[in-house]
Amino acid sequence: MVSKFIPLTIAMMIGFHPVASIAQDTSGPTISKIIETHEDAVEVLYKKMRGKSREEQQKLYEAEYPKPDQAIESITALVLANPGGSASLDGIDWLLRYSGQKGVNPALYNVLETHHLHSEKLQAIVLKMARSRTPETQNFLTTVSEKSKIKDARGAAILSLMKRIERDKEKEDEHTALSKTLFAEHADLIINGRNVTKSIKAKREAEEKLAIGKVAPEIIGKDVDGKEMKLSDYRGKIVVLDFWGDW
């Protein structure tokens, strides 16, 4: 009696542990299947949370959020087993969404560099690396910014390198050097339909105009009754300029 159940058990094991089948090039459908299963589970939880109070949502989230650890492990193994496969990039893209500051498995950066350095999909990948603080991320982004044949990926890599050190006072010079390259070589870097270089430049110029030590830009406006007034009318006085609202 017992022996009859053994094959079934093995079949189930293979079915539930996709890592077992990495020998063949089945990584494509398997990777997308694991991603789909995880995202579906997340969607189910979000549906449950809808319309609930904040506290209930928090509780549900803590109790039922499907931990991605197993999926991360499986997808990492599948990508490493078939690094040049068509699903390899999609797998890494998903892994980056769940990686945060620690970054993904360091070996995956080699996969990207060896197999996908000139892929059209690389821009989306490098944009997701801005949060990671590891040296592997730093090295990879630098490599992309210098060597990728895809211009949009090079620009995005510079952008991510900049974002990583945005708030680091000690790396201001590095940040300035990167932004110089960005402005000079990627003046038309479009991400999600937006020219990001242009808006970074505009923001930078506005900040420079409003820096401590600069003469305040003139304000010509009206009071609430329509009477004209100018900031320069107050020269000779110390002015506390207060952007306010009664809310």
Partner: protein, 96 residues
């Protein structure tokens, strides 16, 4: 906010000092606010919304945002509030 600003204005009475507002309320709300809170200092009226032309020029993203300018119109402090604001104004006054 208002009580502190009122006391600063009172303390700087007869000195070369002003608070100059850039207000983002609706006209009606602004007029009520100055009456109820005894606001005596002038304000630009920025069109009744937070994304008004002056706030946009000054890249203001949070309210209140405060700049302190010296008598030559040079920006000397940013977002100093409360006691630090008093000290900043006093320091600028001492330069005169």
């Amino acid at each position: 906010m208002y009580p502190h600003e009122r006391s600063l204005v009172a303390r700087m009475k007869d000195k070369p000092f002003t608070i100059l507002g850039v207000n983002s309320d609706s006209a009606k709300r602004y007029k009520t606010a100055i009456k109820e809170n005894e606001i005596t200092w002038p304000s630009f009226w920025d069109g009744g919304k937070t994304g008004g032309p002056i706030a946009t020029d000054w890249a203001v993203r949070g309210w209140p945002t405060i700049y302190i300018l010296d008598t030559k119109g040079v920006i000397r402090y940013k977002n100093t509030r409360g006691k630090a604001m008093d000290e900043a104004v006093d320091a600028l006054m001492e330069e005169l």
